[in-house]
């Protein structure tokens, strides 16, 4: 039996004229690092806020760690670490004070020596030890994100929900964030939203893609990439105008991207059928005036899958 850390069933949320969630159902396996993808306004933050009990769904149910968030939200939140998008913390607190505050609210206990040590360790882990005394209000965006991660992890939660943790970070900060997510994901479930697909490819083992408030794809990353088809890279010389038309007209060709590399023309052909290669090669070799100098299959990138599932729909 599969153990899910997050389950959502037919979630709907309507804000007057805006349908933010439209029958969204998703499952996130316990112990996985799950990337939550979708364009702006697709419903990512809304879903996370429903899970955290910040907003009530118009319909449907959501469960976090087995708890119905509508009726047992407090029990769920006691085992969840949450970083909201663009977090704003009480301005009067210092960095250490904020993380201690979060720890205290999780535990309900006064701050003892063990807890203080834990806070120091956490600040060290996110690289904020040297700024522990600084006021939260004076921190840069990246520093605030790091403190946000520290407060989300301070209770050693079973589930970590991060709403765009890499937003506003410079490349070094982003790299550190990805490493941190990978590290945290070794023994916890991490559910995070992002627009940076490279990061998802690096650390996630599963993906949920949403668009217009509904899930358009979900599952292990490898399955998502396979399900969206295969790419072939072809190097050509000569006159390719007729050939291009013939290739594009095939029903199993879902995309054709061309670019020039000196005298060589490189095509990336996206196909929806795994057996397409056997049909593609004869077409490429047919006709005159051109020659095929290179042909190989290429791993599908998440970006390709994303654009196919979300981007095409956006353009339409």
């Amino acid at each position: 039996m599969t153990n899910y850390a997050i389950e959502a069933r037919n979630l709907t949320k309507r804000y007057r004229k805006v349908q933010a969630l439209d029958g969204l159902s998703l499952d996130v396996e316990a112990g996985s690092i799950c990337g939550f993808l979708g364009p702006n306004g697709a419903g990512k933050s809304t879903t996370m806020k429903v899970l955290m009990g910040l907003i009530r769904p118009t319909g449907g149910h959501a469960f976090a760690l087995g708890n119905d968030v509508a009726t047992a939200g407090l029990a769920a939140r006691s085992r969840i670490g949450y970083l909201p998008q663009d977090p704003v913390f009480p301005a009067q607190l210092s960095v250490r004070g904020l993380v201690t505050y979060a720890a205290r609210l999780h535990s309900g206990h006064p701050v003892g020596r063990t807890l203080r040590r834990r806070v120091d360790d956490m600040l060290d882990r996110v690289g904020m030890s040297d700024k522990a005394r600084r006021r939260v209000r004076g921190l840069s965006g990246g520093e605030r994100q790091r403190v946000g991660i520290a407060q989300a992890l301070i209770s050693d939660p079973d589930l970590v929900i991060l709403d765009e943790p890499s937003a506003g970070l410079d490349p070094v900060g982003r790299r550190a964030m990805i490493d941190l997510i990978a590290d945290v994901g070794r023994d916890k479930t991490v559910f995070y939203s992002t627009h940076i697909l490279d990061d998802v490819e690096q650390v996630s083992d599963s993906v949920v893609m949403v668009n217009h408030g509904t899930v358009v794809a979900q599952g292990p990353l490898s399955s998502i990439l396979q399900a969206t088809g295969q790419d072939y890279v072809v190097g050509l010389r000569g006159d390719t105008a007729d050939l291009k038309g013939r290739v594009s007209s095939q029903p199993w060709v879902s995309g054709l991207i061309t670019r020039s590399r000196g005298s060589l023309e490189e095509w990336r052909i996206q196909v929806s059928d795994a057996t397409a290669a056997s049909r593609l090669l004869p077409i490429l070799n047919s006709g005159t005036g051109h020659s095929v100098v290179e042909f190989h299959a290429s791993d599908r990138r998440l970006e390709d899958a994303y654009l196919e599932m979300v981007g095409a729909d956006r353009d339409s």
């Binding site: 009990g53 909201p84 704003v88 607190l93 205290r104 609210l105 309900g108 063990t114 050693d156």
Partner: protein, 280 residues
């Protein structure tokens, strides 16, 4: 979650007041030292601005000075409460602090209750500290014989028609004075509860501030408009201060209890509203 962590940070239970003490601790830091200091400085400013014209004191005008300074001080405390609290709930929601806070394992009732208790404590402490700071000064002035007061001298302070001001000439006893301080503290607490409720009902801080001012006007104006009928309401507390300054005893119990009950009811209503609030 490791066993050590469980022992360290997990507390079972799902009380809606979970996290109250932790929240209260941080809410108190909002009041101490800065808001507390602001109210003290404002109070000192009121007393000094009225007391500094030594010539007036020397001409035996402690009575009206006391009346004006305490009356003005009460207004400053109450308007200060409105100003300091107009963003207490709505500001947190607008900034996003509330979203973060409610994402932690705390009950929403605990969030509102902590704000109320911290406000009540901060305001009461500021009222008592300022009041008790100035009582000995009044007492000394009284003992120095500057309490004698004539209607003609008062005319130099205000050109308004004057009634029988002789009643103001004597400083109230400490018991009476403490009753007045209690009344002011309770009035401020009541306004704090109102401001918290407005913060959960309205979407504009300007509207919250405006409604606060209207409430303040209704409290003060209500006493002068219909004093007897409103004695057992928060408006009666305005009467406790006003009557006390004229050395007329007025029981503080009924309005005080009514104000406390009403304040708690307002907070309960705010809790109910905040629990249904969407924190986007």
């Amino acid at each position: 979650m490791t066993a050590e962590s469980l022992a360290l940070v997990q507390r079972q239970g799902s009380s809606q007041f979970r996290g109250f003490l932790g929240l209260l601790r941080v809410e108190l830091r909002v009041w101490f030292p800065w808001r507390f200091a602001v109210l003290i400085v404002a109070g000192v400013g009121v007393f000094v601005s009225i007391y500094l014209p030594w010539r007036l004191v020397e001409t035996n005008r402690l009575g009206p000075l006391l009346y004006f300074s305490l009356g003005l001080w009460m207004a400053v405390i109450l308007i200060g409460t409105i100003s300091l609290m107009e963003g207490t709930v709505l500001g947190d929601i607008e900034r996003g602090t509330a979203s973060w806070l409610v994402g932690l394992p705390v009950g929403r009732p605990a969030v509102i209750s902590a704000k109320f208790v911290a406000s009540a404590f901060g305001l009461s402490a500021a009222v008592l500290a300022t009041g008790l700071l100035f009582y000995p000064l009044y007492r000394s002035a009284s003992e120095l014989g500057v309490t004698d007061f004539t209607v003609e001298q008062l005319g130099e302070i205000t050109t308004s028609p004057i009634g029988n001001w002789g009643a103001f000439a004597t400083l109230p006893g400490l018991g009476s004075f403490l009753s007045m301080l209690l009344a002011i503290a309770l009035l401020a607490t009541f306004l704090a509860a109102l401001m918290i409720l407005f913060g959960t009902l309205l979407r504009s801080r300007t509207a919250v501030f405006g409604l606060g001012l209207v409430s303040f006007g209704a409290l003060v104006g209500g006493w002068f408009a219909g004093r007897e009928a409103l004695e057992a309401t928060p408006i009666g507390l305005v009467g406790v201060v006003s009557e006390g300054l004229q050395n007329r005893a007025m029981a503080v119990n009924a309005p005080a209890i009514a104000t406390l009950v009403l304040s708690c009811s307002l907070v309960a209503l705010a809790v109910w509203r905040f629990q249904r609030k969407e924190l986007r």
